[in-house]
């Protein structure tokens, strides 16, 4: 129970803590033991992610993450299938798999894998820009089947750090851990500012290109109008002279 109290604030109730608790509980014997563990496990599963949304079985849902380079992104998801018998969603549907596809700003596929109905995907960006994360189920139907409930949680950059694990591994005090967190945050802010400079440069280039294009367009149009007008006059004059009308 004391161990539990310490681990309460941790956002992601990671498996390591669960097994620690399990080892404490396993000293007690009995069938109730098994029921208790399964209850805990089911409850644990239900608190993987809070936010959810609905998609059709064949629908593809994409999210955009605009991130600087060398940034890690972790996504946790869980998929539930609609149960027409109860009118709700089945607590766990092991049959369906989710295809996760991540594309980098140059439209190159960074990650393309099929995961089970519940899992996590990780990737690190190597170019700054808009990364597109697409989720769709590996259903073989041609048109939309049943509804799917997808729980999703995406962590970017500093949020991906597992502070509990780091504290345990390197035996850091609270203050040292806090300093680590601040360092990670400042590092992320620094990367974002650098990316901002690149974006501003791109914006400036686009504006200058527009300016150039407008200038060239106006000059070219004026030139074309003058040239064509002169050609028209000359051509018609020759035409009418040939026809003996002028």
């Amino acid at each position: 129970m004391a161990t539990l109290l310490m681990f309460i604030p941790v956002r992601k109730v990671s498996l390591s803590f669960f097994f620690t608790w399990l080892s404490i509980v396993s000293t007690e014997a009995g069938k109730m033991q098994f029921l208790g563990i399964s209850l805990i496990f089911i409850i644990y599963l239900s608190c993987v992610s809070g936010l959810y949304f609905h998609i059709a079985e064949t629908e593809r849902k994409c999210f955009i993450e605009e991130i600087p380079d060398e940034t890690m992104v972790i996504g946790n998801y869980k998929v539930q299938l609609y149960d027409p018998r109860t009118g709700g969603f089945m607590p766990s549907s092991p049959g369906i798999g989710m295809h996760v596809e991540v594309k980098d700003p140059d439209d190159k596929v960074v990650l393309s894998r099929v995961y089970s109905s519940e899992g996590r995907f990780t990737f690190t960006s190597h170019t700054p820009g808009e990364h597109i994360i697409c989720l769709y189920s590996n259903s073989t139907k041609w048109f939309s089947g049943t509804q799917l409930r997808v729980h999703l949680d995406i962590h970017v950059g500093e949020q991906t750090m597992d502070y509990a694990g780091i504290a345990q591994k390197e035996k850091l005090t609270e203050l040292q851990l806090r300093v680590r967190q601040l360092l990670a945050q400042v590092d992320q802010i620094n990367k974002e500012q650098n990316y901002q400079r690149i974006r501003e440069e791109r914006f400036r280039q686009t504006s200058e290109s527009t300016n150039q294009r407008v200038l060239w367009w106006s000059l070219t149009q004026t030139a074309i109008l003058l040239v064509m007008g002169a050609w028209q006059m000359r051509h018609l004059k020759k035409f009418f002279e040939a026809k003996k009308l002028v």
Binding site: L4, L5, G50, L175, R199, E200, Q232
Partner: protein, 211 residues
């Protein structure tokens, strides 16, 4: 033994629901579409929903926040950026819905940020029985300020992205317009001459008849 275990289970159950969660997502909303995001929130928990339209049309979207008893807590029509905070009084599933049904052909890119509860303290920091030392409290305020910096950076990035996409759109449109208009002018000018010549060559036999 049985009651002890059920107490433990209940404890973990409540611990799962009460952990905080901040999810930021940027998604595309096609025209005439509606998209909802749901979150299960405990009563007494503060939550904040923030959204910003990044690209598309007139950069506006309809937003609705629906409580578990299907009551509409907040509704805004055609907003570009908004933020809504509330302390949940009822436990249940809250829905944040975005609607692009008023638009006929522009799909919108929307950024949504849903924050439930306060941020978790770092592991080990939660069990503070004594007051924090000055070092700890100043590092805590540093952390909160950096959180604000990250938040401002995100909004700045979104607004800059909006301007940049608009500029890129304009650039492409200027190019297409210039090429299109040049071709049209050339076609029209040559066409004028051809048609004029046509008039005179048709009337030739009749003119000869009259002269």
């Amino acid at each position: 033994m049985n009651s002890h275990q059920s107490v433990k289970s209940l404890f973990i159950f409540f611990l799962c629901i009460s952990v905080s969660l901040t999810v930021e997502l940027t998604f595309e909303l096609p025209d005439n579409a509606k998209e909802c995001f749901y979150e299960e929130i405990e009563s007494g928990t503060d939550f904040t929903v923030e959204f910003q339209v990044v690209t598309g049309g007139h950069y506006d979207i309809d937003f609705e926040l629906i409580a578990p008893n299907k009551e509409v807590l907040y509704r805004e029509v055609k907003k570009q950026y908004d933020s809504f905070s509330k302390k949940a009084d009822v436990r249940g599933v809250y829905a944040a819905c975005f609607s692009n049904e008023f638009s006929t052909f522009s799909h919108k890119l929307v950024y949504v940020d849903w924050q439930v509860g306060t941020e978790d303290p770092l592991p080990g920091l939660g069990e503070h029985l004594t007051a924090m030392t000055q070092m700890e409290s100043s590092s805590h305020s540093l952390h909160e300020n950096l959180n604000k910096v990250v938040d401002y950076q995100t909004h700045h990035r979104l607004r800059e992205s909006q301007g940049r996409k608009r500029a890129e759109d304009l650039n492409e449109r200027v190019f297409l317009w210039a090429v299109g208009e040049t071709v049209a002018i050339i076609v029209i000018l040559i066409g004028q001459v051809v048609i004029l010549r046509n008039f005179f060559s048709e009337k030739k036999p009749s003119q000869m008849m009259f002269s």
